[in-house]
Symmetry: C2
Subunit: 354 residues, 2 copies
DNA sequence: AACGCCGCGGCAAAGGTTTTCCGGAACGTT
DNA sequence: AACGTTCCGGAAAACCTTTGCCGCGGCGTT
């Protein structure tokens, strides 16, 4: 009997079929009020037969909350957006919250348009994501009627809550790992210095080396593009100018891949001669590199989950703001040397030993 | 005066401020009915001052349409989901339609849950996406109250509308291109035969070679995994068993990359000795390959756009069904030989000359 | 026998907007 | 002066659901 061909079935038709009033139907279906068991069953049967599905629209209007949030990607969907979105959607979906997707494609006007659209749909909150961690203008000039969380991007307003990976700690992780592997002549091949992430990763690397009393001359820091070609070029330069380097920490897995290719083709063995650590832990890239690439994982999906949880807390009334950094973790593969020993540097605890 | 701190402003407050009734406010703001210009202006001013934004919820309830659609990714978000989603979101956003994002992660139960959730939110339609083009069970056992489009995946029910890239024609494109480049001893390194796309691309390749009277022995068709490692392995096998091959058409750019690496390291020149064509036109992969990879582009973003347009047509009442294939196009880079000549095989017209 | 209480279920308001219908005022016409 | 038009804006229904309040009937008690 389950027709359900048209979900235009309303509570009135269920009430008619069950021979009760609409209020009673609502109570029966939601387990409110005092109803005879027989009545409840009759209503349930009617609802089932008619394929009744209460309109979330009407509910939202009544309760003043929609259980929806907006996901506003300022930049277009990129590689990081996938795990980020997955994490957000996962955490929210479990709470029966639906997600509105908005891709502003880096267009400020479009972004404003989407914000208004989300507000008119009465979302309970908004998550803004990006593909760069550098500060950006907030989406609102004035105070918005709903809470906002910035995930994998940073609002330039300190009143907003921004969630970022801890690039500094990620750099430290790589440094500790390479030191633990006995390397002392490190180099760093990374992306454009205009990226905050580039600067922070380098600083993390430096902090550990400084503490350990290991030198890192400026000539062994090479900043370029986020490309394999740059990785190859930088590796070539290193080989000719700093041939004694025994470890290279790369600012991304893509760069690391270029470095690995260049080293191999130059007859340098990885990890025996030079140990290699990447950044991002981009599975498809790290696995295809020869040898498979040790890398720093920013745990973007976890960051997405956290962003969702923070937003929920703010919707519940908590007032959150400032920048929250999420720890990175080290994923060891062959490029930094095979070892059966547990590597202490994988500890998240910043006080972990070198 | 623009406060807007709380978008809880209703039409009633605007009416109060403007000294008119709510009906008049609605008419003034929407340009309906007969109103004095002075009245319209007064209402507009009041709405502006209060930061009034009409509730889409209330509108939806009234008009029986929400101007929202559900985007249901059966498989988790993958590489193809990005352009697909972009295309869909782009086409729908232009029509002021918002998108609900649902990632079922390949879980049938979760998928059903999402379908019910979308229906209870009264979406106007649903787009189902996947990352494989092979037929899959439809999301609905019975007829749904809203139209559904399958994009980059195929419903096993012929009553549904499915949009797919034309893998057959893509294979033809590659074949024509390589023939036009003067190659006659082709090989095909591709993914698992259980993928429909793998079979169709090979058939397209074959159809063109048959027509041209060019042989393609089974020993030059190598099916394996969608990995670079497989590409390298297959290329090695080809070199030892079919050293006279002068062109390789690969089932994906990833595979092609492995093939290219293996060839280069074996001292085979690309494209001089062996021309190479990939599939997917995955920019980051194609550009990083040495030499940059000629590839077949499935135009996934366009497919997403088309899916959105088809869904809109169905929402308007059109009855669409069956499988619609979208043409691929060839993107020429260095791996298939540099040429200043316009390549005839780039024509979409299937009747184009070889 | 009368009163009180409890179990059950109906009534109506509320939530925010659009739209139809209707009424009143002002103006023009005969 | 009376009637018809036109112009403007108000009242209320409709969309769908939840929930607080109220009423009615039956049962138990004194």
């Amino acid at each position: 009997m389950a027709d359900g061909s048209m979900s235009r079935v309303t509570i009135f038709e269920v009430a008619d079929l069950a021979g009760v009033s609409v209020g009673t139907v609502s109570k029966a279906l939601n387990g409110r009020g005092q109803l005879r068991a027989e009545t409840v069953e009759r209503v349930r049967a009617a609802a089932r037969d008619l394929g009744f599905e209460p309109s979330e629209l009407a509910k939202s209007l009544l309760r003043g909350r929609t259980f929806t949030v907006g996901l506003l990607t300022s930049d277009s969907f990129g590689r990081f957006s996938i795990p980020l979105t997955s994490g957000i959607e996962d955490a929210l979906g479990a709470g029966q919250i639906s997600v509105f997707l908005c891709d502003a494609r880096g267009d400020r006007v479009r972004e404003q348009h989407y914000v208004r659209s989300l507000l008119s749909r009465r979302v309970d909150g908004i998550i803004v994501t990006g593909r760069r961690t550098d500060p950006r203008a907030p989406i609102n000039d004035e105070r918005l009627p709903v809470p906002v969380v910035y995930a994998y991007c940073q609002s330039s307003s300190p009143d907003d809550l921004s969630l970022l990976p801890d690039d500094y700690q990620g750099g430290q992780l790589a440094a500790r790992h390479l030191l633990a592997r006995g390397r002392r002549r490190l180099a760093h091949v990374t992306g454009p210095v205009r990226f905050a992430a580039v600067r922070e990763r380098e600083q993390g690397l430096r902090s550990v080396l400084d503490t350990a009393g290991v030198e890192l001359p400026a000539s062994r820091i090479l900043a370029g593009e986020w490309t394999e070609a740059w990785g190859r070029e930088a590796a070539g330069a290193l080989l000719s100018q700093n041939p004694d380097v025994d470890a290279i920490f790369c600012g991304s897995d893509i760069i690391a891949r270029g470095v690995a290719d260049e080293l191999r083709e130059a007859g340098i063995r990885v990890p025996e001669d030079v140990a290699l650590v990447g950044f991002d832990n981009w599975e498809i890239m790290a696995a295809a590199t020869r040898p498979p690439l040790t890398s720093i994982d920013m745990n973007i999906e976890g960051l997405g989950k956290t962003a969702a949880h923070r937003l929920l807390a703010m919707i519940r009334g908590d007032a959150l703001s400032g920048v929250e950094r999420m720890p990175c973790r080290l994923v060891v593969r062959d490029s930094s040397g095979v070892s059966t020993l547990r590597d202490l540097s994988t500890e998240h605890d910043p006080s972990a030993s070198l």
